[in-house]
Symmetry: C2
Subunit: 324 residues, 2 copies
Amino acid sequence: MLEQKGDLTSFRPDIKVVDCTLRDGGLVNNFEFSDDFVRDLYKANVAAGIDYMEFGYKASKEVFDPKDFGKWKFCNEEDIRAVVGENNTDLKIAVMADVGRTDLNDIPPKSESVVDLIRVATYIYQIPAAIEMIEDFAKKGYEVTVNIMAISTASETELDLALELLGKSSANVIYLVDSYGSLFPEQMCRLAEKYLAVGEKYNKAIGIHAHNNQQLAFANTIQTASIGISYLDATVNGMGRGAGNCCTELLLGFLRNPKYKIANIFKFIEKHMVPLKKSGVTWGSDIQYIITGQANQHPRAAIAFTAEKRTDYSKFYTEVTAYE
Amino acid sequence: MLEQKGDLTSFRPDIKVVDCTLRDGGLVNNFEFSDDFVRDLYKANVAAGIDYMEFGYKASKEVFDPKDFGKWKFCNEEDIRAVVGENNTDLKIAVMADVGRTDLNDIPPKSESVVDLIRVATYIYQIPAAIEMIEDFAKKGYEVTVNIMAISTASETELDLALELLGKSSANVIYLVDSYGSLFPEQMCRLAEKYLAVGEKYNKAIGIHAHNNQQLAFANTIQTASIGISYLDATVNGMGRGAGNCCTELLLGFLRNPKYKIANIFKFIEKHMVPLKKSGVTWGSDIQYIITGQANQHPRAAIAFTAEKRTDYSKFYTEVTAYE
């Protein structure tokens, strides 16, 4: 086990908090956030000292029809600028680019964009395609991070090979991702040691993106942070696909860096998250997500169960764990 | 840091799961459970392989008027027997006895009772009174455990002294309790090491009772279990005071002992917890409990905030963290 880095009465300046509310939360409401919501979230993040704010996906309009989604599925440059102007703040702007669902021609040189960071999301079998994207974005002048998704169902040998390839790439940060919310802290810490060793070898930071199926998103985030992971993804109120994510308001309560000002997040929750939830937008830990998390499965069955307002948990448990 | 004990593909036979749904959950609904609820919970616990089921408090009728509470505040022998008969099962029956709120004359010799375990709950300043109770119950033939409450606001020196006294007592198990849900896993593990050292010295098991203010009840339970804590408190659906407890359905998904059968818990949730929540009984992680947890305070202000259906979190944050 790696030594603990830092302690509860000081802080590590290498730690960065990455707000993913619009991007992961957009998976819940089809990216249909009001302009007010987005503008106030930006202001709250700036005031709270958040390091990065992810506005959404940079999705290909060849693959997805803009008529079917809110604008943050595509993150047009002018839409981001309508919120942030020239972004003369300490908050950096991020967007996510999925392998196979992004048009590289949509990404201008950094000199023409207010975006600072592009986050590449890849499955393990797409690593060569991910590396093409990473190199393109890095050459254009962006910071680049890479999320390897669904590692809880990948072979450890393949994961080791993927990490070596990404270590040699131009990515600045490699993310440990618990896509299904299936991993316990002892497993996350073992994986974190693997990622941190590659980070050490190739001089890269390591990030974490956790899901809350087993009410472990916050715990997994702070436990892996305590052994050296430094890019910490969070969303306000934990808003995100299915069981959601690590809550920003929990994470800021743990971090001791005085630049983080949690009260701004509470204000935002009160003004925007309470009415959003009242309007019927639903996410967060619940029995159906526990069941898919324990079964190490994508939560799509649980999301459908939620949408149908089912509560027959024992039938769902039998369905999800069926062997045939 | 202590070595990990056990691993994720085997199991430790010393681990016991203690269901506290009626006792800690009773703090939410004034112990007014239907007879059906209690009978089905007993059956579900037996079928699920749970080791102990806590029925409620053994509260003094001098201190509390039975007219003001459901019957599980008092746990009369005949009320327990109406549910369990002679309890010819592997499930053991527990009740809680608060220092200063229990009449020792209400506790018959074990030979006259179907109760197996009495759980003494004490503040650190009440330890001598707690020890009187422990010795009385042990002499009467019961298993005895002791919970030291609110340790996150006690001095570590006093805690060390208290643990030594309890180590020399007849208690079988000493419980590490995070009353305010304020402790992070690294703090809980540091405390667990302290308790485990006393347990080692005096040949006692150590238990954990966690609260979910910061969504850490499950994480704190399994992290401290992984270094040797063996009595694990949980409640179905996490039902309990304020933010609630470690969920039985999460804990059984972590433990690998084949005697635990999680499907029975899902069935119980479907039949009883869904309607209970619909009827307006409220518990579980929410912003107000995060705020009192972060502030290391009793959740009573957050419970009142919840009862008043307030959502002005930033005002509440200012109230709770006021210096004057």
